[in-house]
């Protein structure tokens, strides 16, 4: 058990900068999720912590000890790979025991640790099987078991669930959460699935093009996205973003459709400033046709998801607007509908930098 500190870490592949300076201190026992789109450098960062990838600049410390120059085996970490990377010719038992054997741990203790991990993961019946004789979910569990028996300072997961089908993924997600609560081992978890990130994380590090866009708890990231990128990446369907301008008195945002949306507090210093206005689809609700600040949309598509309904609308000026309503559809395609944002649902971002305007 240990803290993991990442200090201004950089990684270049020749002229290409994959990681452009990331800073984060992960608490002992914390579950940190690295979230971001494909190619943003999540795996690279994780693999630098693991020691599988050299560190171009900055420092990584595990348990207070700088590990930049240490081999993976000396970093006291365990990793779960996307394709599990189990040894195909070894039994489940040997797969889990291999790392312990190499470290010269006595046979009896290996047996005890593997049996305990197998019990936690319900793998007891499979200990004598080869990976090829297991289902995807069971293999995944063996990969977890291999990490658990090592009792490492930190767990590293690189998209461990992405090879599983949706149902199994949900199930394993819950299991990982339970396991982490029970073992309390510091974990770094890479995913591009926001549901995994929201449900598992103590904190999320949202990455984009090798930089940390935001570091925060799942709710912070959802409620106060630090940039347009985070706003668009977290939440499903993604946040609506409209061009806007703060009015001359700094009291409301004007959007091209003519609506005037009152700000929760007035900001005279920002009067006249162009902004991007973000509203989450789930924070728009149907309103009376003449509701002040309401958006009148023509409905193009209605997706009934059962528990809720996603409405794809178009504003008079041609902009798209998504609305998510609870329950089964009450509107039909080609209907007109007026929707209005709920209180406190407005997010403002700088029109140029895309950073949040508080």
């Amino acid at each position: 058990m240990a803290t993991v500190e990442i200090r201004n870490v950089r990684k270049s592949y020749g002229p290409v900068e994959a990681i452009k300076g990331i800073d984060i201190a992960i608490q002992d026992g914390e579950f940190l999720v690295l979230l971001g789109p494909s190619g943003c450098g999540k795996s690279t960062l994780l693999r630098m912590v693991a020691g599988l990838e050299g560190i171009t600049g900055g420092e990584i410390a595990i348990g207070g000890r700088v590990v930049n120059e240490l081999d993976p085996k000396d970093r006291d970490i365990a990793m779960v790979f996307q394709n599990y990377a189990l040894y195909p010719h070894m039994t489940v038992f040997d797969n889990m025991a291999y790392g312990l054997k190499i470290r010269g741990i006595p046979k009896a203790e290996i047996r005890a640790r593997v049996d305990k991990a197998a019990e936690i993961l319900e793998l007891g019946r499979f200990l004598d099987r080869r990976p090829s004789q297991l289902s995807g979910g069971q293999r995944q569990r063996v990969a977890m078991g291999r990490a658990i028996v090592r009792e490492p300072a930190a767990f590293l997961f690189d998209e461990p669930l992405s090879n599983l089908d949706a149902k199994l993924r949900t199930q394993m997600r819950v299991e990982i959460k339970r396991l982490q609560d029970r073992l309390g081992i510091t974990s770094l978890y890479v995913t591009h699935d926001q549901v995994e990130a929201m449900t598992l994380a103590d904190r999320i590090l949202v990455m984009n093009h090798g930089v940390a866009e935001q570091i925060g708890t799942p709710l912070e990231v959802y409620q106060r996205p630090a940039s347009l990128f985070v706003a668009g990446f977290i939440g499903s369907p993604p946040m609506n973003v409209l061009d806007g301008r703060i009015d001359d008195r700094g009291e409301a945002v004007l959007v091209p459709g003519g609506q005037r949306l009152l700000l929760p507090q007035s900001r005279p210093t920002d009067a006249g400033r162009p902004v991007k206005l973000g509203i989450r689809p789930e924070h728009l609700a149907a309103a009376a046709a003449d509701f002040p600040g309401g958006f009148s949309i023509e409905i193009e598509l209605v997706e009934a998801l059962g528990a809720d309904t996603v409405v794809y609308g178009r504003l008079p000026d041609g902009e798209a607007l998504l609305v998510r309503m609870a329950g089964i559809p009450t509107v039909r395609e080609r209907d007109r509908l007026t929707v209005a944002p709920q209180d406190g649902a407005l997010h403002l971002f700088d029109a140029v930098t895309g950073r949040r305007v508080e």
């Binding site: 693991a50 020691g51 599988l52 081999d71 993976p72 085996k73 970490i77 365990a78 990793m79 790979f81 996307q82 394709n83 990377a85 189990l86 040894y87 195909p88 010719h89 291999y98 790392g99 190499i102 470290r103 080869r130 990976p131 090829s132 291999r146």
Partner: protein
Amino acid sequence: MKQTRFIDLVPHIVLIVGVLIFAYPIYVTLIGSTWDSATIGRGGLPLWPGGQGAANYAQAWAGEAGERAIYTPVRTMMLNSLVMALSIAVGKIAISILSAYAVAFFRFPLRMAFFWLIFITLMLPVEVRIIPTYKVVADLGLINTYAGLAIPLIASATATLLFRQFFLTIPDELLEAAKIDGAGPVRFFIDVLLPLSRTNIAALFVILFIYGWNQYLWPLLVTSSGDMETIVTGITKMIGTGESANDWHLIMATTVLAMLPPVAVVVLMQRWFVKGLVDSEK
């Protein structure tokens, strides 16, 4: 229905005819080894077994002298061939799996240059480089030794290439998982790579054993004493130049004996690699 029957039948007939054509000479050899030399010498070899089998084999196995010439006993030649074929098979597999490991898993200066160097040896068959090779072996004093027989044939790249291709199919994550588990390069090789290469090793062993066993030109050059004779060169030497009559009964018995080790290797190893293919873990 009738039509498909007919269509099914044709390949069978072709196969049976093919097998007969291939098997007939072997059958004749087998029969020949059971008759006395006079019967064979007259030219009318019967197609059924004669009564001389035991005597012929005993004489070929241990005998120093035939009726018309002096030979190296088969047991000596078999031993020589066995040592040569095993050295070639084991040596080649050992060297090529190690060099393939180096080329496939490690980054070192001139890595690709080494790979191409290895690759180039493929383009030069033994026969092409035989004179320089002979010179080297002679200068090293390896004429008439097992080392002289086997070492020049060990150096070639076929197996290196095969192993390299196989190693490239092994996912990087497996190596990384092993690194995190604490396995160094040697442990990874012994604990993971070797077991995964089992099937390939078995298949290559069969091919290389037969390749070594059937060597003709090279043993002919580097052995001059009778006690280093290999069985393939030995048989050809038993067949005279035509000036004298041949001990056909002994030649046939020797030939039959010469076939046994390759057949045994195929039969034994086949179990291994068929098993490997069936419960493949890839």
